[in-house]
Amino acid sequence: MPTKIINSQLLAIFCLCLLHTQVQAAEVTVQKSNASGLLTWTSKDNGFSIQLIQLLPDFVRAVYDKHGLPADEVERIAAYCDFGTIIQNTSQQQLSYRVSDWRYIDKNGKAYPVKTKAQWLEEWRKAGIVFAWTLLPGNGDFGIGDWQQGFTTIQIDRNEKFDLVYTWTLDGKKHQGKIENMSCAPANLSTSSITK
């Protein structure tokens, strides 16, 4: 009898977890650009909105080349899986976030920290680069209506899918969101992806 009760409780907890996961998954929308075929993920939940737009390596090269970064540093950041990222406080309260708390999870279930702007700037500083913009700020305290944008960099094989787990704090309470099955922009924009 106790075993049956425990099993029922476990089943109930499992169902609740499943329901919770489904609700979170329903918050994520994926859009495909008609012009480029590139994907954009958008998630809105508990006062926080995040949008991640696939960036082609050539686009990233063009951006950093224009800002005068040396060729090897341009190639280094273009080799990452880069996303244009827009985050927004959609609540009526103070909100904060820290990219150092964010994780991406590879196909084997292993979690890795997302590289922060501070880490990039430290590497750039050692390379003699003073440019300090375009990357998503590593942390922020957002008032009502505040939003921010910048590049997010994920170090993963370009052809590998991954999940992104991100967190934010609203009114002192920490929240977590997850975008599953994300993918990098292709290495090149093929003709087929433009016409699709």
């Binding site: 737009i53 050539d58 942390n139 209506g145 505040d146 939003w147």
Partner: protein
């Protein structure tokens, strides 16, 4: 160099330019709507002073604007929300022209040519001072983490409000806020 060798380069350049335009346009389409809410700074702090030059090399210091309300904007030409909000800053500046209000736009790490080209693309060229924070020293003094970031400074030289991300600065609510600070 033969024409065959030149053409692929030209075609590639045109293609990349189109791609960048598509990407920039897509990014601007997907941008959040510009709001008008500014966050009140709970404990107002003195705005760090600075002296910077405009396009003509004329020097501007923040302390020279004591007695005026200052909208201090940190921006760059490559930043889509900065470009979107700038016309509203110009309308706001014109609205309060001749009163105790000024807009100072601090460009980050760009040169005169880049800014001159950008302002030439605008329907109305900004009449307010655009200053060059070439090494971002002033943005660091204001703890600016991303662009655009804007501060509203009162007549006593204290930071009173802040906006992170683009705003519609000539919205009646923002005008009301500025009027309130001007009347203090």
């Amino acid at each position: 160099m033969t024409l065959h060798k030149v053409m692929p380069f030209k075609l590639l350049s045109v293609f990349l330019c189109c791609l960048l335009m598509f990407s920039a346009q897509a990014a601007e389409r997907e941008q959040p709507k510009l709001g008008h809410t500014l966050t009140a700074i709970s404990k107002s702090v003195p705005a760090p002073d600075f002296t910077l030059e405009d396009m003509d090399g004329k020097k501007f210091s923040l302390k020279d604007y004591r007695g005026k309300v200052v909208l201090l904007n940190f921006w760059a030409t490559w930043c889509p929300p900065c470009r979107r909000e700038m016309p509203s800053m110009e309308r706001l500046y014109e609205k309060f022209k001749g009163k105790n209000f000024v807009v100072l736009a601090l460009n980050q790490m760009e040169d005169v040519d880049q800014v001159f080209t950008y302002t030439g693309e605008l329907q109305v060229t900004p009449a307010f001072p655009i200053l060059f924070d070439k090494d971002s020293n002033v943005s660091r003094a204001y703890s600016v983490l991303g662009l655009p970031t804007t501060y509203l400074i009162d007549k006593e030289g204290n930071i009173r409000f802040r906006a992170i991300g683009g705003r519609d600065f000539d919205h009646p609510e923002v005008q009301k806020l500025i009027l309130r600070l001007m009347q203090e």
